[in-house]
Structure formats: C-alpha cells, structure tokens
Amino acid sequence: MKTIYSEDFQPLSEMTLYILVSLAPGPLHGYAIAKKVRVLSEDRVILSVSTLYTILKRLLEDGWIERVGEAAEPDESGRPRKTYALTERGQRILAAEKTRLRSLLAIFQKQSLGEEP
C-alpha cells in the first residue's frame, strides 16, 4: 500500500478545514457542526445540510472522522443525534494544515514588514 503523508492532502478545501476545526475541541452532532462552522467563519461559510453530509460522508470514508455515539438531546423529530469526532488521522492532517497556514502567515507578515523582497 502506498504511504500517504498528511501533507499530501494539502491544501484542504475551506469547508473541510472548518469542519475539522469545529471538531477539534471535541465530538459534535451534524447540526452543531454546521452552526459552529458558521460561527467560526463569522457567517462567511454557511453549510447546507446536503453539503455538510456530503463532506461528512467523505471524511468518514477517508477515516478522518468517526461516529462516536449519540448526543444527549434528540433532534426535532425525537431521533437520537449521532456525534462525530476527529480520528487520529484527522488530527494529524489538521495539524499539518495548521503548520502550512502558519508558515504562509509568517511569509505575509515578513512581507508586510518589508523584510522580504
């Protein structure tokens, strides 16, 4: 099997990145993820339900996130809400993306200070 490095997935799409970031502190259910993404992005990224679950499905298949159980409160129709959490692989990929973004930011900062040509 080919070895895949975290960096191979970079750069992540904005929506994927926000979903991973929203799950970083701990497990969340689908609705909470959508709300948190909206808050984190200051209303810039709004996920429709279908987009959210298209991405969640892909992340589940890729092993970046996993279902970890059900939330305490059920949804509007009384169904238990499934919660999602980052897997170890997901955490590694998110960490690699953070490093990449930090280094980019450092370049921008240097340029704005006139340290870079």
Partner: protein, 316 residues
C-alpha cells in the same frame, strides 16, 4: 409547525429519497433532523431568513445529489469489479508472465505464418503488401497487450466485465502504438538515424536506445489502456506515463542483457534466435512486472478508495 413548513419539510424528505440507497440508509434520518432544526431556527429569525434558508437548501440539494450519484456510479463502475484486496506481488507476477508469454508469441508469429495461405499471396500492389505484412504483426502485438490486461485483472480476481474492458482497451490502444511505430520506421528517418550507428562504437547504445523508444511508445498506449479501463480518464493519463516508464526500462534492460550476452562471445555455436527468445522473455518479465507493480501498488484506481474502506487518496 405551520402547514407551509410541514410542506417544505415533507418535500425535502421526498427529495432525500433521490439519494443513492446506501447514502439514504446512513444519512437520510440525520439530514432530515438537521434540516428541521435549521428551518426552526430560521423561523425564529424571520420570514426573510426562512425563505433564504429554504432557497439555499433547495438550490444546494440537487448539486449534492448529483455529486453523490456520480461518486456511487464511479465506485460501482470501477470498484465492484474487484473481488478482494489488491496484492501488488500478484500483479507483478501476473504482469511479468502475461507480457513474457505475449512477447514470445510475437516472436513465434514473426517466424511463422499466422494467417491463412491466401493472405500472403501477392498481386495487390505496395499498399496492400504493407498491410499484409503489418496486420499479422500488429494483431499479435495488440493481443499481447490484451493478454497483459487479462492477467492483471486475473491477479485481482476482477470480474469478467473489467477484464473485458481492459482487454479491449489495451488491445485497441496497442494496435495504435504498433501502427505508429511502423509509420516511424517506414516514413521517417527514424530507422536510418539509428542504423548509421550500428557498425560503430556506439552500436550497443543505439540498439538499446531504439529498444527503449520502442518500449516507451508501446508502454504509453498500453498503460493508457490499462488506466482508462480500470480508473477512468485521470488514471488513463497517469498510467500512460507509468507504462512509458515501465516498458522503456524493461525493454532497455532486456536488450542490454542480450547485447552484453552477444558481446561476451559465449553464444558462439548457438543461433541468435534462442538468445533473442530469452532476451525477449526478459524484456517481457521486466516491463510487465514493473507495470504490474505500479498498477498493483496504486491498484489502478487512482484517487479512489479501494481497499476495505482504507483510503488510498482523498479528493477532499
């Protein structure tokens, strides 16, 4: 919930039924729940916000529906044809065997009359004479590529559908490669360029280089056929380059061995034919083995997840 909202939720639930069955089983209930929560929250903000949310959701749903169907279709088309986990080693062995057998058949065909007698009877002028000569050679060469495809598919216990697709595409594309190479030889200074070196100090280099170019042209088309059959367009492009590399290396090494063998002088007393057979076999083992390894390693499926849900690559 008002009648309007119940209608909207009901319609959304109906639309969710358009998702592929597997997706529905896994996410439909959850999606419906999240949609209801989103609608309820928007209602509390105001009518305008509610309409915006409904519009946004309804606009996005068909796009994601289509995406999901395409994704399922791709999986059905490419992945269900494989019955078990890919084993690169098996692909190496089967690829090496397939190409070796195929090339040896070409060698046999080049010394034998593979077509019926009437085929070789002249009287049709130069163009048809060329065709009479070319078609048996091209066919055996193309079928060799098809045989390689069949063997590689056999190495992963692929279903007949995939094997047939690989066979047809690889045979067809290899036929093109053979015709192109023949065109180069007949109508361009290509052969003349190499033949001027055959008597000098650079003879071995010229022979090996010519073999490598021959291999690369054939590998380019064979690899494209393999990638196209088993992984779609993107895979086709990638495997065209991998085929070029595999065949280029395989043929260059195989012919180098032959030339070194001849240069060593140990073959005196043996006709060149058995040596050529061995050398051709080595070319086949190397080129087929390398291509099989590259294919088995990446399972020929490019960006697709193949092995027991374990991702090879993600397109996220």
């Amino acid at each position: 919930m008002s009648l309007f909202l119940r209608l909207v939720v009901g319609m959304y639930a109906r639309l969710l039924c358009l998702y592929p069955r597997k997706f529905q089983e896994e996410f439909r209930g959850e999606m419906q729940g999240v949609f209801v929560s989103t609608i309820k929250e928007a209602t509390s903000t105001g009518t305008w916000a509610l309409l915006q949310v409904i519009f946004f959701e309804m606009l996005d749903l068909p796009i994601n529906l289509a995406t999901e169907h395409i994704s399922q279709w791709r999986k059905r088309w490419f992945m269900k044809d494989i019955r078990h986990r890919i084993r690169p080693f098996r692909s190496v062995v089967m690829g090496a065997l397939g190409l070796m057998i195929g090339l040896l058949i070409i060698m046999w065909a080049s010394k034998s009359l593979v077509m019926p007698d009437w085929w070789y009877k002249g009287g049709f002028g130069t163009p048809l004479a060329i065709l009479r000569e070319l078609i048996p050679a091209a066919l055996t060469s193309a079928l060799t590529s098809g045989l390689l495809g069949l063997m590689l598919c056999l190495s992963v216990s692929a279903k007949a559908r995939l094997a047939l697709r690989a066979f047809l595409l690889m045979t067809g594309l290899e036929l093109m490669a053979t015709l192109i190479y023949d065109f180069l030889g007949r109508f361009t200074p290509y052969q003349r360029f190499f033949s001027q070196f055959l008597d000098g100090n650079w003879a071995i280099v010229a022979i090996v280089l010519e073999a490598a170019i021959f291999g690369m042209i054939n590998g380019l088309f064979t690899g494209a056929g393999l990638g196209l059959a088993t992984g779609g367009w993107r895979s086709g492009w990638r495997f065209a380059l991998k085929g070029l590399l595999a065949y280029g290396l395989g043929f260059a090494f195989g012919v180098t061995i032959l030339e070194l063998w001849i240069a060593s002088g140990r073959w005196i007393g043996i006709t060149t034919y058995p040596i050529s057979v061995v050398s051709t076999g080595i070319c086949g083992i190397l080129a087929g083995g390398i291509l099989g390894w590259l294919w088995g390693r990446e399972s020929g499926y490019g960006s697709m997840r193949v092995v027991e849900g374990n991702p090879v690559r993600s397109s996220v």
